[in-house]
């Protein structure tokens, strides 16, 4: 399954993401620019902030309490389609998901 990241500057990067792997982890392992993932995937640092393509947004489970609160503390302003990439786990339904990496993350 693939995820497509639109990195700061506008380039598109497609990455293979195994099922149940987070989009944060996949981005960091593949050296995708702009995702930091300081906390390692605990929804606690707001440095894997992405804007999810509206076509896929409805397929995601709603943000948990922590993610909701952390999203209010992102460096780039929160939008309606803001999510933390560490909380998006790849599934078959999400194959091809497009996310724009927020800039800045810090």
């Amino acid at each position: 399954m693939k995820a497509i990241y639109i990195v700061p500057g506008g380039a598109e990067v497609a990455v293979d993401v195994p099922a149940n792997t987070s989009l944060m982890r996949a981005a960091v392992s593949n050296g995708v620019d702009g995702i930091i993932g300081d906390c390692g995937g605990a929804a606690s640092c707001a440095t894997c902030h992405v804007f999810v393509d509206p076509a896929f947004l409805g397929l995601l489970p709603a943000p948990g309490w922590n993610e909701g609160q952390i999203l209010d503390c992102t460096a780039a302003d929160r939008q309606a389609n803001s999510r933390l990439a560490c909380q998006i786990l790849m599934t078959e339904a999400l194959d091809g998901i497009r996310v724009t990496i927020a800039d800045p993350q810090l």
Partner: protein, 402 residues
Amino acid sequence: MLDAATGRTPPVLAGIDPYDTATVIDPYPFHAALRDLAPVVLLKDYNVYAVGRHAEIQQILDNWQDFSSASGVGIQDIRRPGKFRIPSRLVEADPPGHTEVRAAVTKILSPRLIRSWRDLFEREAAARVGEMLDRREFDAMEHLIEPYVLKVFSTAVGVDLPRENVIAIGEMRFNQTGPDNVLYRGAMERAEPYLDWYEHSVDRVGVLPGSIAEQIYVAEDRGEIEAGVAKSLVRTLVGGGTDSTIAGLGACFHHLARSPGQMALAVADPMLMRTALDEGIRMESPFQVIYRTPNRDVDFAGFTLEKDRKLGLWLGAGNRDPRKWDNPDMFDLRRNPAGVHVAFGTGMHVCIGQMIARLESECLLTEFARRVKTVEPAGESLPRPMNQMRQLRSIPLRVTPQ
């Protein structure tokens, strides 16, 4: 008082007292018995429930609606007469009161602020590790971890943290959350000379400009935090972030010295140390147990849990639950358990300072892996037994330089 829906009572775990000093020092047989008997058990002597499996711990932490924090995260119900202690507005509170306070502190502890301390933490780590290399043999607690954490965390949080005082008060606080036993009484006695210091330790007059503590007091001035709450928040952050980080780093050094293969991996790739703290606290969770309280009779995992009967979540047991982890008893730097282990808690009360602890750990341990070739025990590690917290008192080590 059983709910008609199931009415089943959790089985009694008999024959093991988790708060007995020997069990506190070696909790693993208790953890295994707890996990294996049932998803929820009853500890009759204490009249509380206990949970040791990872999945159920996570479910309860995520369910604040049914499982409240407001009656305290220790074994006593702090709402009961005679048991009252002033609840932490951050830790021992439920929505809606908790939400605004948590949001204000989350904003202050931004990734940008935390990153601004990196230079300081790295400098201090370099100095400490250099000193250990000169010594070759040292106590990782007394000579390395305690001085390092007390220096860098006190600068970040903005509060003076003298070693003897911190240790005595930490022992008091992390025994007070357990039963009134020999550990508790000993710690209370040793803390007595430091109580006056503790009372004033987070007063506004003493806090450093630019620090977390100062920003919390300023947020109170601005009305972003309810009047009168700032001091309690600073106390919670200091108390939550000092002893636990020391304990977590202790677990890392204890296990590194006993896992030569893991140390060799880290020497080859010091960046592996970035997540070492998460693995260290999975292995030896500093907060071994935290309590919740059912708000009503709750059906859970096939049992009915009675309203107001406290429920201990044994985080240390969940973090070694073989239902969740492969080779749970192995210290494995490649495991990457962040976001999965429950040592920081999970849900709305998840450790708010975890990024500070991670930065402290990353700076110290990557420096260690860059400059040390081998590390081995120079004696047995010794425990500092506490009812709630798992922490070593002494970790004698011997190192060789690269």
